[in-house]
Symmetry: C2
Subunit: 84 residues, 2 copies
């Protein structure tokens, strides 16, 4: 069994209204040292697979097909073997 | 300047309909080795601060006050010094 930690973020050139809103809220609360905020997704996926290479290939395919939009987003992930 | 990578996830006991929906979509596409999916947020925040301890204190306060809901969510973050 592997736990995959998947990070999906917008590409740097893509406009991020959610991040701008969060930055505005932070500035409004006095956190004026915040220069920029980029918002993304964090997913933890348990994959019932014992072979690391196969688990990696599956998670990569999930990212490409479902979890990230390759036109505007990038992703990366880490695998961690867990017992169970 | 520091880049803070902030991860916000639901506490393990909290129901996660978004994660269940993503799991359903993955199963529907044939990824039947996926046991569970937990959905969370990933934020990259640039903090214009040269002192690491002060940057850390500020990001922690942002997490508690704005970025995470401490009733149902947990968070952790990493700081990385960047030039600029």
């Amino acid at each position: 069994m592997f736990k995959a930690k998947v990070y999906v973020s917008l590409k740097p050139t893509v406009n991020d209204p959610q991040g701008l809103t969060i930055r505005g809220a932070l500035h409004g609360l006095g956190f004026d040292r915040v220069n920029s905020v980029r918002a993304g997704k964090y997913l933890e996926i348990m994959v019932n697979e014992e072979d690391q290479a196969r688990a990696e290939a599956q998670v990569d395919e999930m990212c490409r097909k479902v979890l990230a939009n390759p036109v505007i987003e990038t992703y990366h992930f880490e695998l961690e073997r867990v017992s169970g």
